[in-house]
Subunit: 328 residues, 2 copies
């Protein structure tokens, strides 16, 4: 996507190169420990196809050496047979992705050669200091035949020089797309504008595209996603009903209704919400904008403090603020 084209884009038109990735099972899995029913996953797969979504992320490829399979739902591990039980050979235009964390994935063993898998895209998630290891993973997975993207997490805590250096290393790798990730939901739209410009400039020069993964701590996940889109970011993450860790993510149904690309249709997604998401909430899954997440967003802090606070059914926000200040 050329930046010029996208800045000229009006609300009545669209960029054909925009792609949407549904990561409900993966980021939402952090809410309910990946305990989705097969019916939920199958209906989401069907809804994504009908809605024109480009990628559906099934979960993590987590190491079974590091994590006990008894402690998690199956989408923490995304075994090939489990994905195939839902999608068969996946004779649909919807591509399938999985996420692999640097240091928490036995990628040499657990990621099959592309020809033996229905997975299309592997998304490598890395912290800034792990980038050299991430590049080794990227090259290995790329050689196996996959599309590969990389998420640099927690960039709101990374200084500009380190980020520039990291981006330059990734620009030289075989990765297809680099993700701007607002892990703590701490960015305002005008920061997204600047970061998007930086990422797009570096990525485009290397023939790559840029993605955005936003969190909703300050109720800006959707606004930040469409701002990034305006600035030339073309791979957009979202989840149904914004389901995701803590404050959650960009709402997929809002994003689809915003995008004017004729292939997108929010109706199947709204039907899916009607059938599945209300039940999930009734059963006790908790996510979404709330004061404690707003506070971790403001303090540019990991949401774990707020998640614990809410789990403990605490409402003494003032004390939470003091705790967050002490962590600064």
């Amino acid at each position: 996507m050329s930046l010029e084209n996208c800045n000229k884009r009006t609300l009545m038109d669209y960029c054909p190169d925009i792609k949407v990735l549904d990561c409900t099972l993966r980021d939402g899995g952090l809410v309910n420990n990946f305990a989705f029913t097969d019916e939920f996953v199958r209906d989401l797969y069907e809804a994504n196809i009908k809605a024109g979504v480009d990628y559906m992320e099934f979960g993590y490829k987590a190491s079974k050496e590091l994590f006990d399979t008894k402690d998690f739902g199956k989408w923490k591990f995304c075994d090939e047979k489990d994905i195939r039980a839902i999608v068969g050979e996946n004779k649909s235009p919807l591509k399938i992705s999985v996420m692999a964390d640097v240091g928490r994935c036995d990628y040499k063993k657990d990621i099959l050669p592309r020809k033996d898998s229905v997975v299309d895209l592997v998304r490598v998630a890395t912290y800034i200091h792990q980038i050299p290891t991430a590049v080794e993973m990227i090259e290995h997975i790329k050689k196996k035949g996959y599309e590969v993207t990389v998420n640099i997490m927690a960039v709101s805590k990374v200084n500009s020089d380190d980020l520039d250096a990291g981006l330059q290393i990734l620009a030289k790798s075989s990765v297809d797309a680099i993700y701007l990730v607002d892990s703590f939901g701490s960015f305002y739209p005008e920061q997204i504008t600047k970061f998007s410009q930086k990422y797009v400039e570096i990525a485009e020069a290397a023939g790559k595209i840029v993605g955005i993964h936003a969190h909703n701590n300050q109720q800006l996940a959707f606004a930040n996603t469409i701002e990034a889109c305006r600035m030339g970011v073309s791979l957009l993450d979202a989840t149904v009903n914004g389901m995701g860790r803590g404050a959650g993510n960009c709402f997929l149904e809002a994003l689809l209704s915003f995008l004017k690309n004729p292939k997108y249709d929010e109706v199947p997604m709204i039907r899916f919400v009607e059938k599945h998401m209300l039940k999930l909430k009734e059963e006790g899954a908790v996510w979404g904008y709330d004061i404690p997440y707003m506070l971790t967003g403001i303090f540019n802090s990991h949401p774990s403090t707020a998640i614990r606070f809410i789990k403990d059914k605490r409402t003494d926000y003032t004390n939470l603020m003091h705790e967050l200040m002490d962590m600064e």
Copy 2:
């Protein structure tokens, strides 16, 4: 505020001419029929003073000829004695505002001469076709000695020529500020950019300022407010916890934490949420982002359909969509 100055503003700096207006009692009153306890109102008044908020709106000056006082809490009418019971002579820097709807306020009788009132600002709310009547009200209230602002409601349904004509009429009036109002929460930030430019250009030429009143149907109230602010809009409406009709408004606590003006402090507001807002929700007051409001936002439609849908405890979103399409 000059537009140039504000575009040059960085996140580390601030515009000293920004003013914040808390309209929790007024827009939030539409949720609970203005049934706020005196303790709630008094604590909100104190919290606003501590937080450095510039204006607190107590409610409507509604006509007692048109509305039965038995059907509403007292903040629907904002009698002078009721405001004074909370604020006394209001020996604080916090200014007091009330809202007067064109055609639903006996302003000649019910709005006292400024010297007999603790109210500082009267906000006239008008539809585009009522602007000549609004101007008559504005001049009358201005002559009584008040600051006066005007909200043009539902502009997302007004054609550009009519809006331009309406703005030019208001520019010639004695009104102090003109509000950009996203009544249906249907604007995206890039539309706010353009509308803000238009409003600021016309208002500045006439020596007036511009305000923004956003709704949260697409979870963009905060994002749209700070985008307007970036474009030179200087009078910012918000409500505690976003309390307001339907999807509610811009969150005051988020806005205060965003603004870098040293006088603003979100802490008293977060304490207020802790003490009062959770209880209000427990007692059954319902507002905030939800699929039905997102749909009326997308369809640029009055939220009343969604409010009824939610009151009826319906969750058949697909049918709601059909109903909204039929109303197009």
